[in-house]
Symmetry: C2
Subunit: 252 residues, 2 copies
DNA sequence: GTTGATTGGGCTAGTGTTAGACCATTGAGG
DNA sequence: CCTCAATGGTCTAACACTAGCCCAATCAAC
């Protein structure tokens, strides 16, 4: 019937955009996605080691799934050693997982497991969203409360014991996204962080690196508090570039 | 049994992070999510007016759903007037939707439909991811081909007829994310764009605004081609801030 | 015309998922 | 010691979704 015939601008390849939009609607079945989500909470330390998940009924509502499916996921994580489930009042699903202390060679294996395409995708993705979040936050008017949270996260990280470091580092980075007030952005940053968390856990924590990271964290906070989006973006970019460069070295 | 007892750092409210990670696993049932995805392809102009969607069997595989569910979604869009479905060879689901020409008052209605919380969330989200994408792209080494695509999108936009403007504007913005080479980032930017597309469609296209946008687009491309992440971020931020300010005016 | 490849239309049997009810266990408090 | 509220454990009927198959319509090519 109708329909424009010639669209000269379409000579540039549009298939990439088709693939972008017409990608799979679901990453897997409800069970698999639930396992992933709980793993995210555990591995990112949102539920700290020794703490417990919300009660099943409550959690099922939050996740928008049935209790049956949730219980399957919890059982899988229990069998995989992430959770310890106890019955009765004051019972629940307790996190037993503690992030592995990195040993030499782990990193190489993790990188190999991931595939180079996925790795660069994840690193690029994280770079973009975290830089964006920091710049947006720096560009916004901050309340005293927001400033306090930011300073507090930074202080927590400085005082952190080694076994708490990754968890508090995650908390610091995610706080930046959360403070923007955009749930979409916070969720996206959490997603980006998870995609590199196995890699981060496999990186040995050397004193030099920790000190380097600490000063970078300070630079990020300083730029945000100063209301300087450009400096904030640059500080985050430099911080993440350090990690990325280290990982990229394992690709060659 | 075990379990760390005192975690002083947890005094800072962690419930926000719990809500971020333990959010619903699925946005809706497969049918609803499929409708949304197809609407994204149509409204963003990824499938241009008059063009047709891929064959059902192929599309179902791409979307990772069954043909039955896909057909339900297509039928819904057909009944809603977005598609014209024709049988037989050379048949298919043809896009009939043409973006509405904005009339005065539409914008106010669309903004009201959305809710102020969702609106600021969407605007913040878009600001962060598009700024991040542009900065990342500017920071990377660009091939001649990539440069050519960028220039081409810009030229297309300059020559665009009014009825093609939104579609080509979308193509321009999404190309920046796609050129980073990160499918995750491209998908996220597409998502962010969709969340504000109804708003953008309701904004009257005045000559002044178009000229203003054109020079901003040029500034973005120039910064990226010059390899200046800071300038790229700033140019995108200024460009999007114009839209955001206009929309925010309708909140008061 | 006739044909054949391509496409949407529709059916069925089997599996995944949900909502809701009820049971079993635990442990603090009376 | 008992009680009872909070929690995980289990079952069932109903609904959603899928894979695979075959039918029906269309139209370019012969």
């Amino acid at each position: 019937m109708a329909g424009p015939v010639t669209r000269p601008e379409d000579t540039v390849d549009d298939s990439a955009r088709l693939m972008t939009v017409l990608r799979p609607v679901r990453a897997g079945n409800a069970f698999e996605e639930t396992v992933e989500r709980l793993l995210q909470a555990i591995k990112l330390g949102v539920v700290a080691p020794g703490a417990k998940l919300p009660p099943e009924r409550e959690l099922a509502v939050q996740l928008g799934i049935s209790r049956v499916t949730l219980r399957e996921a919890i059982r899988a994580l229990q069998e995989a050693g992430y959770l310890d489930v106890r019955r009765g009042r004051y019972g629940g699903a307790f996190v037993t997982y503690v992030p592995p202390q990195p040993g030499t060679g782990d990193l190489r294996r993790v990188v190999a497991d991931m595939g180079t395409a996925d790795l660069t995708d994840a690193l690029t993705f994280r770079m973009a969203v975290e830089c964006g979040a920091a710049a947006v936050l720096a560009a916004s008017e901050l309340t005293d409360e927001q400033r306090a949270v930011l300073r507090r996260r930074l202080a927590d990280l400085d005082e952190a014991r080694v076994e708490d470091y990754r968890r508090l580092d995650t908390a610091f980075h995610l706080s930046i996204a959360e403070l923007t007030g955009s749930p979409l952005l916070a969720a996206t940053c959490a997603d980006a962080r998870l995609r590199v968390s196995d890699l981060l856990n496999a990186i040995p924590m050397l004193q030099v690196n920790l000190e380097h990271a600490a000063s970078q964290h300070q630079a990020i906070v300083a730029a945000i508090l100063a209301g300087d989006p450009e400096a904030a973006r640059r500080a985050v970019a430099e911080h993440l570039e350090g990690t990325a460069a280290l990982l990229r070295a394992f690709l060659s």
